[in-house]
Symmetry: D3
Subunit: 284 residues, 6 copies
Amino acid sequence: MYYYKEGLINEIKPDKPDPAAAKVLQETLGGQFGEMRTMMQYFFQSSNFRGKEKQFRDLLRGVFLEEIAHVELVQSTINALLDESGGAGVGDQGVDRAPLDEAIKHANPHHYIMGAQSSLPVDAGGNPWNGSWVYNHGNLIADMLNNVVLESTGVLQKTRIYEMSSNATFRETLGFLIVRDNAHQNVFAKALETLGVDWAKLFPVPNYDINKYPECRKFVEMGFHNTQFNFRLDPTRIGEILQGKSPSRNGGEFTVTQPPNEFPVPDLPDMPNEHSPGLVDMFH
Amino acid sequence: MYYYKEGLINEIKPDKPDPAAAKVLQETLGGQFGEMRTMMQYFFQSSNFRGKEKQFRDLLRGVFLEEIAHVELVQSTINALLDESGGAGVGDQGVDRAPLDEAIKHANPHHYIMGAQSSLPVDAGGNPWNGSWVYNHGNLIADMLNNVVLESTGVLQKTRIYEMSSNATFRETLGFLIVRDNAHQNVFAKALETLGVDWAKLFPVPNYDINKYPECRKFVEMGFHNTQFNFRLDPTRIGEILQGKSPSRNGGEFTVTQPPNEFPVPDLPDMPNEHSPGLVDMFH
Amino acid sequence: MYYYKEGLINEIKPDKPDPAAAKVLQETLGGQFGEMRTMMQYFFQSSNFRGKEKQFRDLLRGVFLEEIAHVELVQSTINALLDESGGAGVGDQGVDRAPLDEAIKHANPHHYIMGAQSSLPVDAGGNPWNGSWVYNHGNLIADMLNNVVLESTGVLQKTRIYEMSSNATFRETLGFLIVRDNAHQNVFAKALETLGVDWAKLFPVPNYDINKYPECRKFVEMGFHNTQFNFRLDPTRIGEILQGKSPSRNGGEFTVTQPPNEFPVPDLPDMPNEHSPGLVDMFH
Amino acid sequence: MYYYKEGLINEIKPDKPDPAAAKVLQETLGGQFGEMRTMMQYFFQSSNFRGKEKQFRDLLRGVFLEEIAHVELVQSTINALLDESGGAGVGDQGVDRAPLDEAIKHANPHHYIMGAQSSLPVDAGGNPWNGSWVYNHGNLIADMLNNVVLESTGVLQKTRIYEMSSNATFRETLGFLIVRDNAHQNVFAKALETLGVDWAKLFPVPNYDINKYPECRKFVEMGFHNTQFNFRLDPTRIGEILQGKSPSRNGGEFTVTQPPNEFPVPDLPDMPNEHSPGLVDMFH
Amino acid sequence: MYYYKEGLINEIKPDKPDPAAAKVLQETLGGQFGEMRTMMQYFFQSSNFRGKEKQFRDLLRGVFLEEIAHVELVQSTINALLDESGGAGVGDQGVDRAPLDEAIKHANPHHYIMGAQSSLPVDAGGNPWNGSWVYNHGNLIADMLNNVVLESTGVLQKTRIYEMSSNATFRETLGFLIVRDNAHQNVFAKALETLGVDWAKLFPVPNYDINKYPECRKFVEMGFHNTQFNFRLDPTRIGEILQGKSPSRNGGEFTVTQPPNEFPVPDLPDMPNEHSPGLVDMFH
Amino acid sequence: MYYYKEGLINEIKPDKPDPAAAKVLQETLGGQFGEMRTMMQYFFQSSNFRGKEKQFRDLLRGVFLEEIAHVELVQSTINALLDESGGAGVGDQGVDRAPLDEAIKHANPHHYIMGAQSSLPVDAGGNPWNGSWVYNHGNLIADMLNNVVLESTGVLQKTRIYEMSSNATFRETLGFLIVRDNAHQNVFAKALETLGVDWAKLFPVPNYDINKYPECRKFVEMGFHNTQFNFRLDPTRIGEILQGKSPSRNGGEFTVTQPPNEFPVPDLPDMPNEHSPGLVDMFH
């Protein structure tokens, strides 16, 4: 069963609202290669696991647990990019200008219609998350090769999305997740190494210099690219696989460690213009 | 962040395979009113919460945490209904009969093509889970009214699905979830009562006699229909709302308690016919 | 604006329940070439009409009005095919047999889960009706050619679905609609004739002998294949187009007439097993 | 059966074209909580009605009939916002500028590709209307609670969309529909009151001051927020439910009245640039 | 079986990048009436052909073969419109400006996230290509009438998209395809003439003066609007149908000829910013 | 450009109709890991190719060309499984039995409604083919790793589908495609070996003994599992990659050869019951 302690896995760095950045960051939340996909894919792969080699089930479930925290991190980042992005209420402006007409120009209009300026389970094009994306054929090699492609594509997309805004809130979250996708790419590559593959210098995919992303450096220095966090309250066999040399061409030793300390969840204020939460008169 | 202790929230009662039952039970997993929907809806509602009345956020997140365990329970139940449901391997039968030709007759063929006789993120008609189902408009009253409808529909569907097979594995899980949907219906109805509504004798919806479902009785006797389990490792304000009289016409007092003890996760054997997990030669 | 007088456009002929027939008849309701498509396509074409030749707008709207009644007729037919198709309630049968296990074998399970044994806005494969099917490009020739294809395909599908059950409820409705699709095929072919086309012996498509369908004969004798019903409460210019020789190779004169007399809407009984309507205790 | 008298249920107030407003207003037409959804949901609920309490069927059908007119009103409003929004034809401008390049910048490009600058059955994000949105489980309480959520969400979205443009065509239609959604919210809340619920001050949701929307005032003064229009040509039992005190915290008495007088349907001119209707050479 | 000789069916005329044009041109590639639809529709119609009149199968397959080349032409055109449309790499600009923030403003963001600034199987609204669009009911008249509508709609959409940018790369491809859609409209209209229809002056739809599109003229002069290219390496009976007078109101004689000479496929450079193809370090 | 010579890439072995087998074989045609996906994925990857290492583009296009022939082979196989599977026409049977009521029991009803007993672009669950499945991120390593997963999953699914019927038509096609997927898995694995990877004994996935499938043996004896057919009419650089040792644990040398000789395309008879092709009266 699943337990929770309030707190985010990385910080929400303050910056200005940026609804265009919120729109494209949705790919990382609800896109075909986003965090909801990784979370649900590893959930199904671990629940449906067959056979006696339970160290692989522990590995799949271990990454699944971290992905739930990733989803919450991206939700919170999108919320921070949207918060305060609209104008004031009815009557606060002249007849020629509605408070949201500028906000929606390069935004996903559903952020203001279906959400109260908050995250949605959709991608950068507004397409809803779809269960057919979950890959779980039950053949462990096929499943883990797909996981390698999924994590590689996740980091490839994040390096492309990173170029779409200089907003610090946006880039801090992307920087953290780039490093963690890198780690998870290594996790599944490492697991396949235990089956005999020698990846040579194939990973990481894409073939990028992580030092070009200043937000990534502190995490690399902490070794987060070669670490798997352990969210289990009971024993796990994950360390049987995740030990020794990293499969990355950049080398390093793999470790399993405790998760980072929690970062505070930002408070989102009332938003009367969106009638959210809409309880004002009732409690006062 | 999210932590895990291995174990299911209710038992997987053994019975024979029943792929037709597995097919319809998918509605409870990946359908529009199934457990993946409740899990993701409350996840988004709690992460996107606005305003100062944090007891409601704790309530939304509290139910979310239990729903993750519900998803795992239904995945495991479907797996048990599918396991051993096919025939043997190639060459084990005569030319006129393939090992899976009978199995797929009333089954979802994807259970044997995309899954290795295991659960999928789809509904009873094979339609994949869809993010557009998540309702989170950020207006707390609208969100909680939708949650009441969602839980009412969940239990209504489960009472209908219950009639589709007498299989004990199938009915034990449905019985447990009927009681828990009943509890969650009460949770959101109770929260709306704190805003002034008097539901009279409206709930539970549907208007059914829970004693007709023998699998439900033991849970009702334990008070599970008026209890919310607490999966938080840190303090929660959920008890400010969930106390006093239940909104159900059947009465009772609401409580917040520890989760039940874990039930064992059944082992799923190798399935060579599905090439799952497919590691045989590698580890031996 | 839209007005209503209770009654169906053709009778619901009584016969036994037939859930497999209900499943395939859904194509005629919610399929890509079904009655919901024709209804919504002509609705958009008439509301979005451009230009001065308003007799064409009246023609499009005239067929739209009839299609609403077609949708209601197919809904009612599916309801009649599903009603009483399941078993009795919990406890009425032994442990080896659930009341719905037989019913769902060749049925759409959603007829028993999402509907209370009643019609759904989906096709024969369970795919939901989709707005992208509506064709309305605003070029009148393209729109009307598409309407000819739509009506031709509608009747082609209905002659194929007709072969899937001998049930009288099922075939009476299909027989009526085959004749009306034939009429609407003629309507749009006739409108294109006013633009100069000579169809020779192309229509009707498919090239079938309507006398092979005994349910069609009475309608052909009443001339329903060359008639457009008029549901307007105010004047219409539809008769400027729908007069003179039919474009069908079978000949005849086109007329605009009053709709047929209303047929009674069958009463659907309470269905306690589906908790529908679920008001028993409240009114008694 | 369904009859028609030409005319809109509210006026199309003239203003300039505004394709960005047309894009977001599509949510109100083809969105998950738009007028096509309410129309089709109440259509299925009334056609599939079970049981003897026919006053509820009359109520469901009564609101359905009005929703057809709402769909036509929003179609016509979108058409007015799009008409004349593009440039002139080929060759009318220099090589550096195409007549539609500016128009599509903040528009839904399908308004100019699939429609001849006219409405489409899609939402504000361009997603087509989908039959899976229709909620009709046949349990009357569940169905009517869902209807309350649907109408509450409809009005919540409309108050948010209202902020996206000051265009008078756009706001007049939204103002009218906000009041009618309010009335329909009251209709279903009232129906649930006859089953014993006391809503206290819960409604309307959202908790807004309708006087902030100047377009709403004239309709409130006419009592349109506590009235149901009657589009039946034969007797209806709807008045058995819709009488006495409104369930709204703003009070008032419920009435059933005749529909408002028809407003003229605006003429849409030929649009040669879109080849619509494209008949020029044929009739002249 | 299918053979290939490298080369495009028309030239890629050089001009500046134009991501907004690339976005709308996607309709012509992956839209409901785009080249992927025509390609797959004629593929299924020819593979599933029934009956002895094989000259029609040869005709369907003949057009299918050309459509593969059309798909490749539009892919290459979109690539040319996107290439070099983004900024430089990380660190090349100040903190206030990310290299892609301007590029994505009026673009499909997936062109930069899922593609390396290259074409996608989606429409102008970002909706993925969908198999349900393929029309192949096996009734030859219905299938060919649908093909006429498909080609008419294709050319209608292209004349509308043409107005959305003056870019020469964009307009050259559209001009070529307008003429070819015109030819294919004539192909299917001609085939229906062999069944007796007299189209009078109905075609081409839309009713446009092709001389208004300067890019079309050279192709009309070469007779491409009344020609079918033959891509068969073995004999074909297509000429039995495609001979004699064109069904177009503009007249002319139909011919079957060899395809045009190949045009060079443009080279797309490495794009380090998109990590494409990402092999730099490995081969150097 | 694309050229055609009539003939199938493998034979259609005659056996009885088997509509249940046709239904599941649709996965291999229109499923997420079926032949339409491989065809379109390699088409986009080759058209959108970036960079100077054109031997990889030739490799991607080379496999694409073969996949078109695979699509045609599966279409023809499904047609053979459906042909003659229904009963006779109207009036040929008693009132209690319609000619198609038995045929549709375990079939996809759309095979008889939308197709004239012929193939459709859908999967085994009836879901239409979807463009979002195409993976083409433009990073060559990510693209080719995805291709390895795609081919591995294709063969894994085919070995599972193979168990669903003993029909010889069905198994001959699956046997041929299992060997070819094996070859294409080797193709992309080999290409990744040129970048340094050592796959050890990972491939083929799944880890199966191909000799268990009697239909595969003749193709293995011809070396088809380590061969790429060349469909180019002009020079190709594919041989720079596809030479030397196969990456399979079963060893062998890779070759590039001419395609096999064409097999005859079976004739499909008229089917009057489906009104296909429906030309009878016109040509006689």
